[in-house]
Subunit: 237 residues, 2 copies
DNA sequence: TGGTGATATGTGTGATCACACTTGGAGTCA
DNA sequence: TGACTCCAAGTGTGATCACACATATCACCA
């Protein structure tokens, strides 16, 4: 007789359905938009406005926004509403220092775990970045860049390190797009990423770390230049 | 005529009153207890149980627990209830690596800002640690130890760095007490902290960083030894 | 003209309720 | 004795409502 065991054995190809809670879905949606620079710095995200926008009550929105607040991806604004944080030069340097320390650590820890399959993935992300540049696809470039880095860091072990790194990228997210639209910088970035892949192929931890640091320092330099050029940058004021 | 300006000018000594929300109070209370090792690893903290314990509804508890969850200070347990995370050797090494990277960075950034008043505070915390040892006051020792370190890190600049460092201590908190009760380790810890103060007095960034790293490595070594001795450590199972 | 006060709007906070889901164990039947 | 079914307890999730507080606007009065 066909009991439960037999039935489940026949379903090996099925994937586990994603039963994400509303709060989780809203969180991921907001997170992606912040990371990709969809929201302008200073833009307010109140519970009721977001709730109405996505068509749910304030409860799941409340949880999602609180999560982002704890991650420093949102900060309390002048009238208590949460808003996308603006970046000043001081905070930029703090985040840059933390990125160098943590992403340098992550790539060193990842080196022993990187295999040929990982390298193939990284070359794919590298190609995506190149193609995004020639097709003038900023969104695609940012996504491929994050895919490239996060793939390395995920090989570094457990989740605390990468979750902190992600929160730092989240904080920089609203500004990445601004500098990525200047294509002079991207040529240099592609050279750096090429070197990183080379270092990983050789298993050279020092070179890989140096490549990651060079990438972060270049991004920080570009962003600092942008901040000076657009002093105050009253976006979405 | 006595207008508002005059009145406010007379109140220079007043401190801003702390109008903490319930959620904030519960969060701080839980946080302190986790940090000081009040809860055993594996202990469950469900919304309703905490709400009943503090005499409020589940709403503020819900927010407080979610904050702690995002900070990795609590994790979801086997029956969806949040619980104090247990530490395995792998996670311990990950946190240790992150602490070395971030606390080393923090002390280097702090060096230029440390003045004589800071040194006086640090000597006071050092004295508190010594006295706590002789009076067999583990709670006092842990509090003074955190006060010592956090005073240094707070001189490192803005808040993102220290908030991440705090979350790492929070994750280790439930275990600090266990190793601190072995007084053989504390003699060594006092020597290290003495050296750190000396390095800060000299403004020697490299020595200060080395001292912080030595402290972290010693704590990690002790904890790793404890984990091996109490394999599985089925506390509050 | 300039300060004052009422008010409307928007904000997060917290309580209460209903619901879906998971887990564990008692009870039942083969 | 063993496997199965069912039910009770416990869990987080989400909706709805009421409230306190902050801000901006505008009418009003000296």
């Amino acid at each position: 007789m066909a009991n439960r065991m037999d039935w489940t054995a026949d379903t090996g190809g099925l994937e586990t359905v994603a039963r994400a809670t509303l709060q989780e879905q809203i969180y991921q949606q907001l997170r992606n938009r912040i990371m990709s620079g969809f929201f302008k710095p200073g833009q307010a995200l109140s519970m009721r406005s977001v709730a109405e926008a996505v068509g749910v009550s304030v409860m799941p929105v409340r949880d999602a926004l609180r999560r982002l607040e704890v991650e420093n991806a949102l900060v309390v604004g002048h009238n208590r509403a949460l808003e996308v944080p603006k970046l000043d030069a001081e905070t930029l340097m703090e985040i840059s220092d933390m990125r160098i320390a943590l992403e340098g650590l992550a790539v060193e820890r990842a080196i022993p775990a990187i295999d040929e399959a990982d390298l193939e993935h990284l070359r794919g992300h590298f190609t995506d970045m190149s193609e995004s540049i020639v097709s003038d696809d900023t969104d695609g470039y940012l996504a491929a860049n994050w895919a490239f880095h996060s793939h390395i860091y995920r090989r570094a072990g457990a989740g605390i390190l990468i979750s902190v790194i992600e929160s730092l990228w989240l904080r920089m997210g609203p500004y990445f797009r601004l500098t990525a639209e200047d294509y002079r910088h991207l040529d240099n970035a592609m050279i750096i990423h090429h070197d990183i892949v080379g270092a990983l192929e050789m298993g050279d931890a020092a070179a890989a770390r140096a490549g990651i640091i060079a990438d972060i320092e270049a991004a920080t330099r570009d962003l600092k230049y942008w901040l000076n050029s657009n002093d105050g940058h009253e976006a979405a004021q």
